[in-house]
């Protein structure tokens, strides 16, 4: 009788965490089947428990020097954003001045992390910022809907890159995701990542259109597996944007992904974050979920515009003990 020899399956353990550790050099998704199996292995999200946890963390009381430190940290994490049809070079230049020196009278106030504009205004922003330690981020890939061919999306990225964008904020194809064409969503991210070259890639999930927390978790993992440097909540163009429970799911995903693969992916929240109080609550979420390693502009960002002035105002209030007029700060 012929002797039958078989190769035993590589032991991967019970969880995705162990699965990736077994790969050694980080995750490699070879097929849509494998992608689906990884995403299917993710734990479900209990919406009631998730929302309760987010609400509980919102009760943290951040006072005095910890508040001041949190405000500075939040300022340094802002991607100061203008994404309007009415944007002009003058408007962008003005925003860049604000980004570099949010409070010109006070040199202790850090610059924001980046300015975020449409691709055609990247060059304007780069010129305006000069040597300032502020990155230029550009939305691309048929922002905000993502409804265009891959070729057009890649052209969009190429234009932003050639104009000097340091960071690319792409949108995923939510239609493809919701239709279950996960491979297509994955491949697009991989292609955009390749087109980004050294530029950092932020992948916008548009969580308001994914609707369920389970979808947010799966989309987060999909984007991270495909090579995202950041996962980002929203375009800011749909009503339901960043919420604390959504942020919590994405931070958990980034934490678990880093533990499984050793690769640290950042998280950017965008849309609807207007007050310093909200920003500090999000920093508490980061602190108590992903941990202090994410409490840096390298790994956590706020995409916002009006937030910056409230952060500045609260900062001054912490130092002076009284509020100043809104008009103390430029309206950019």
């Amino acid at each position: 009788m012929d002797e039958v020899t078989t190769t035993p399956l590589r032991s991967v353990g019970a969880t995705s965490a162990v699965r990736f550790a077994a790969h050694g050099s980080g995750p490699r998704i070879e097929s849509e089947v494998e992608l689906r199996s990884v995403l299917a292995s993710l734990s479900g999200v209990d919406a009631v428990g998730l929302e309760a946890r987010a609400a509980k963390l919102a009760t943290r009381s951040i006072k005095r020097s910890s508040k001041l430190a949190a405000l500075d940290l939040a300022i340094a994490m802002v991607d100061l954003t203008t994404l309007e049809g009415a944007d002009t070079p003058g408007r962008v230049a003005s925003l860049c001045a604000k980004a570099a020196r949010p409070d010109p009278r006070n040199h202790e106030v850090p610059s924001v992390a980046a300015v975020c504009v449409y691709p055609d205004l990247v060059a304007t922003a780069k010129r305006a910022l000069g040597d300032a330690p502020v990155a230029v981020a550009s939305v691309a890939t048929a922002f905000p809907s993502g409804r265009a061919s891959l070729a057009m999306k890649l052209a969009d990225v190429a234009e932003a890159r050639s104009a000097g964008a340091d960071e690319i904020d792409m949108v995923i194809d939510r239609g493809a995701f919701l239709a279950g064409r996960l491979g297509q969503v994955f491949d697009e991210i991989v292609a955009v990542k390749a087109a980004c070259g050294p530029a950092h890639l932020k992948v916008i999930l548009e969580t308001g259109e994914l609707v369920t927390y389970d979808n947010v978790r799966r989309a987060s993992w999909l984007a991270m597996l495909a090579g995202a440097d950041f996962i980002k909540t929203s375009t800011g163009k749909v009503p339901a944007a960043s919420t604390p429970p959504v942020a919590l799911v994405m931070l958990e995903a980034a934490r678990d992904f880093a533990e499984s693969t050793g690769r640290v992916v950042g998280v950017k929240l965008a849309g609807g974050i207007r007050s310093a109080k909200d920003a500090i609550r999000y920093l508490v979420l980061v602190n108590e979920t992903a941990g202090t390693a994410w409490l840096t502009p390298e790994r956590f960002r706020f995409g916002a515009s009006s937030l910056l002035n409230d952060l500045l105002m609260q900062r001054l209030k912490q130092q002076r003990g009284a509020y100043v007029r809104v008009d103390e700060f430029s309206g950019d």
């Binding site: 009381s61 005095r64 340094a76 202790e108 300032a132 330690p133």
Partner: protein, 494 residues
Amino acid sequence: MSSAEIDVTDQQLDQSRLGGFTYDPAPESASVARLASAYGLFIDGAFSDPGAHEQFETLNPATARPLATVAHGSSEDVDRAVAAARRAFPAWSSMPGSARAKYLFRIARLIQERARELAVVETLDNGKPIRESRDIDVPLAAAYFFYYAGWADKLDYAGFGPSPQPLGVAGQIIPWNFPLLMAAWKLAPALAAGNTCVLKPAETTPLSALVLADILTQADLPAGVVNIVTGDGATGAALVAHPGVDKIAFTGSTEVGRLIQQRLGERGTHLTLELGGKGANIVFEDAPIDEMVEGVIDGIFFNQGHVCCAGSRLLVQESIADEVVRRVLRRVEQLRVGDPLDKNTDVGAINSAAQLARIEELTEAGEAEGATRHTSACALPNEGYWFAPTVFTDVAQSHRIAREEIFGPVLSVLTFRTPEEAVAKANNTTYGLACGVWSEKGSRTLWVAQRLRAGVIWANTYNRFDPTSPFGGMRESGFGREGGRHGLEAYLDV
């Protein structure tokens, strides 16, 4: 713009300043409690002179320093309280339900109005974090009064037949773990049903009930409808022994509950008991892992584990045990232990030296029996009564820490292989108060829940309380239900 204008350099982004994130102390003010130095008894609508009674000290467990002195109710005091309740009974019970409801609604609103004061009093006297007394104990206490206020004029429709009658004078003995909330659980349904009450708060936590007495006065509750007699076990025993009491409702230890049952066995006095527990959180491999970890943590570290329904046993499917334990231990290290008045504190002080001694004794037994101990590295304050959050792994079903109620921040982790084994292990206890089931598969959750011998079963959550939901145990966890329509039955002659 020239680049010269932009002179912010990377050096100014001082990473040490921007990197970490520590929370400065954010203490609630203790003066909000407005404590008196000495308290009398609340009998027949008025406080007695503290000087007329033997006094004992009630301590702040976070510092072990006295907060106030409180009257030690004697058997004569109990007698006066029962007599006052008896006198008040005819008018209170024959009053239209809508009129009783008016008082209960008023009490509920006053609890809300004085919520901050009550929360601080509770935290000072009990040691629980202000976040919990502020967000859970006090709002829930108001919610129970609101809920039962709504029943007061609808008793005919509660499912106990037409015109159900109250029992008479209810003697109510409550524990120290949720002093105000337990008073609300006892008083609200009893009053709604038309009974009058003699409430005996726990020896170590009498203060919030005395603030509640002030609220009852503010609400113009008729004299004698509620009487509050502070004291120790002897005071409680006098209440149980009093022949003028028609009903005893007791929440506390199984040991004392057993004694009360023996004493009352000879008389026709109605009795409900809510006793100890050894709740199991059953975690299947498809559980929503992040929310499950939070639920397990909340299940055992909420209120320092001083919770009769605490999820003190974690039964986890063996296939994910390592992952779950790793995540639970990581979360334990994040718990902020310390000053209960600090709004950011997660775990406060152990209520008394006696309770601390019991927790220490049982955890030492756990180590001696061979379980592996993991204790949070958190720093503990130098004074007061403290116990760091602790998890035991490698626990066997026969270990004392898997069988006896520790009533402290100590979790015992056991594993199972199949749903049948999970049910068998969860039921393998003399208690039967509460269990949790964690799974994303509803059919299995229901299968397990049907087979668990416990009064309360939570699915994908734990330690969740609501006035509309009945709460109570079976076997050595007691009998009778509190909360919901069922909670009325304990105070009606049905």
